[in-house]
Amino acid sequence: MYSKKFLLDLYKTMYTIRVFESECIKLYRQGLIRGYYHPYLGEEAVGTGVCAALGKQDYIVSTHRGHGHCIARGADVKHMVAEVLGKETGYCLGLGGSMHIADITVGNLGANGIVGGGIPLGVGAALASKIRKEDRVVAIFFSDGASNNGVFAESLNLAGAWSLPVVFVLENNHYAVCTPVEKSCKADDLYTIGQGFGIESHMVDGNDVLEVYAAAQEAVAKCRKAKGPVLIEAKTYRHGGHHVNDPGAYMPQDRLEYFKSRDPVTLGKGHAMSIGKATKNDIAKIDKAVQKEMDEAVAFAKESPEMSEERFFELVENY
C-alpha cells in the first residue's frame, strides 16, 4: 500500500537526521558549536512519521531536541548547520542557536529552551486556525519530561474543551535528562493522561516510522474534520545521553541495546526494501546524496559570515 518512493522518502529523512546529528556532534567536539546540543539520535522515526502526515499549510511546534523535527518538516540543512554554528546565514541569523531553530516559512513555529513552553503556543496556533476557519493542523512535539509540567495539563484541557486541531505528539524517550519516566509519573503509559481529559489517545512504537505515520495520519484526518485534538504517545529511546556532554551512564545497557536493535533508521530501510522493494543500490544512492548534502552544508556554514556588530545593534535598536 505504501509506494517505494514514499518509503524511500521516509528513509531519506531519517537518514538525513542521523547524518546531521552525527556530523554536528563532530563539530561540537571540535569546539565549533557551543552551548547545549540535544541530539535526536534514536528518535528519528517520530518526527519523520508525524511530519509525513502533515500538509504544507500545517504547523509544527518543536523542542530543545528539535533538529529532527526541523529536518522532517523540510528544512535545508545548510541553514540549520549555519544556525548551530552561530552564523548569519542560519535560520535565525545565528541569534537563536540549536535550542531555538525556527523556520516559520514552512510552518515550523520553532524549538524552545523552556521545556513545555511551546505546548500552549501550539494550542494558540490551532485556535487561530479555528477562528479563521483555516484548514491547519498543529502537531506539537514534546517529551515525557514536559508531560510532567503544568502547562501540558492546561493545554491539553484547553485544546480538548475547544476541540482544536492539535496532534499532541508525546515523544516518550523515557528520560528527562537522567530522570526515568517511572520516577516522574505514576502512570505506566503516558497516553492515558489524555483520556482523563476526554481526549482520544493512542500509543505507538515510536521507532517504527510506519506505525507513527499511520497513527499521525489518522489523527490529522480527525483534526481536519474538527474531531481533534488527538494525543499520540510514541515510545522511543535516546541513543546517548541527554546532550552531547552527557555520557548517559545511567541508561541501562540492556535497554539501550534493545532500542538500538530496533533502530528507527534501520527499520525504515527495511520497510523500503521489503515493502517498497527498494534495492541496495537505491539505498546507497540516497546515503551518498545525503552525505554529500551534509558535507556541502558544513562547508557552507563554515564559510558563512557572522553578523556584524553594526547590523546587530541596528536590529535590536529599541528592542
Partner: protein, 339 residues
C-alpha cells in the same frame, strides 16, 4: 575584606562551598531539605548538590518531576508547615514559571497572615551569560525579585560569601532568593574550615581605594577587580564594593565609600533598563549628591535578548574594559571641570 581575613589555607570552588553549606545546614537542622530536577545521584547540572543524597537519603534530597510551579509551590507550602526547604531551579530563566508561588505566595504570606505565619524558604538558581546558551538560558533577572517586597535577594561573588550567605539564607525565617552565576561555579577562593556565616544585608569591600567606587555584584565583581588592577596602573585607585545582598541593600557601606571617593561606577551584567544599578544610582544621588564630583556611570548589559553568536554574546555583556573606561570618564570628567 572578608577573604583577606581568612588565614591562608583551604581553597574551595564556589560550587563546593555551596555544597558544604548545604551539608552543614542539613546536619545541623533536620527540617532542612533540598529539591529540584536531577539533584540526587546526578548532583545537579552544576554539581552543587553532589553526594547529598548519599548522606541524607532520598527523603531529604528530592528529585522532582519537571514541574517547576508545583514543586516550588510545594516547597513554599512545606516552609509554611515548618520545614526549611532549599529549592533549586536550574536556570533563572525558568523562574517565570514559578513567579506566582514566589511573588504572590511566598513573599506575601507572612504579611497577609498578620505576621503570624512564616516562610523559611530558599530558592537557589543561577543566571548570567558566557556559555553560549542563548536567549532563554543567559538572563540576569535579579531586578524582578528586588521589586517584590517580602523577598531577600542574595548574589554572592566568591566561594567564601557563597557559603556564608547560603547558611544565613537557610536560617532566615523568610523567603530568600539566592542567585548564583554559571561562570562562578568553578572559581576558587579561600573558605575556612571553621564554621562561619555571612549576615544577609551586609556588603563587603572587595578592594579598598580612594579615587572611585565601583559597585558590582556576582560575576561582575571579578570584572570590577580586574578593572581596578588596570586603573591602578594608570594611577587611579579604585574601591570595589560588593553589596552581596541586593535586597536589603547595605546602603551604609555604599554611602561611606561614595563619600570617600566621590566618584561612582555601577557595573551590572543585567540589561540596563529597569535594573538594580539604576535604583542604586538614584539612591546615591538622593543621599550623597553633594559628595559626587561627576555623574554616576552605569555599565550594564545591552538592552536585548542574549544572542547565541559568540562574538555578539560578548558584545552584549559588560567586561572589565567598559568598567575601566567608565571609571576614567568619571574621574577625568572632574579633573577637566576643575582644570
Amino acid at each position: 575584606m572578608a577573604n583577606a581575613k581568612t588565614k591562608a589555607g583551604r581553597e574551595l570552588q564556589y560550587r563546593e562551598a555551596l555544597n558544604e553549606a548545604l551539608k552543614e545546614e542539613m546536619r545541623r537542622d533536620d527540617t532542612v531539605f533540598v529539591m529540584g530536577e536531577n539533584i540526587g545521584e546526578r548532583g545537579g547540572s552544576f554539581k552543587v548538590t553532589v553526594d547529598l543524597i548519599h548522606e541524607f537519603g532520598a527523603d531529604r534530597v528530592l528529585d522532582t518531576p519537571l514541574a517547576e510551579a508545583s514543586f516550588t509551590g510545594a516547597g513554599v507550602g512545606a516552609a509554611i508547615a515548618g520545614m526549611r526547604p532549599v529549592v533549586e531551579i536550574l536556570f533563572i530563566d525558568f523562574t517565570p514559571l514559578i513567579m506566582d508561588q514566589i511573588a504572590n505566595q511566598a513573599a506575601k504570606y507572612r504579611f497577609m497572615t498578620g505576621f503570624k505565619g512564616s516562610v523559611p524558604f530558599v530558592l537557589r538558581t543561577q543566571g548570567g551569560s558566557g556559555n553560549g546558551l542563548a536567549a532563554q538560558h543567559s538572563q540576569n533577572l535579579e531586578a524582578w525579585f528586588c521589586h517584590i517586597p517580602g523577598l531577600r535577594v542574595v548574589m554572592p561573588s566568591t566561594p567564601y560569601d557563597a557559603k556564608g550567605l547560603l547558611k544565613s539564607a537557610i536560617r532566615h525565617d523568610g523567603p530568600v532568593i539566592f542567585l548564583e552565576h554559571k561562570l562562578l561555579y568553578q572559581t576558587k577562593g579561600p573558605v575556612p574550615e571553621k564554621e562561619y556565616v555571612v549576615e544577609l544585608g551586609k556588603g563587603d569591600i572587595k578592594r579598598e581605594g580612594r579615587d572611585v567606587t565601583i559597585i558590582a555584584w556576582s560575576h561582575m565583581v571579578l570584572h570590577a577587580l580586574k578593572a581596578a588592577d588596570v586603573l591602578a596602573q594608570e594611577g587611579i585607585d579604585a574601591e570595589v564594593v560588593d553589596p552581596r545582598t541586593l535586597s536589603p541593600l547595605d546602603t551604609e557601606l555604599i554611602l561611606e565609600s561614595v563619600r570617600k571617593t566621590e566618584h561612582v561606577v555601577i557595573a551590572q551584567e543585567a540589561v540596563r533598563r529597569g535594573g538594580v544599578g539604576s535604583d542604586i544610582a538614584s539612591y546615591i544621588q538622593e543621599q550623597a549628591f553633594d559628595y559626587l564630583d561627576a555623574p554616576i556611570r552605569i555599565v550594564a548589559g545591552h538592552n536585548t535578548p542574549m544572542p547565541f553568536n559568540l562574538h555578539l554574546e560578548s558584545v552584549c555583556t559588560p567586561h572589565a574594559e567598559e568598567i575601566v573606561a567608565a571609571a576614567k570618564e568619571t574621574v577625568y570628567a572632574e579633573k577637566r571641570a576643575s582644570a
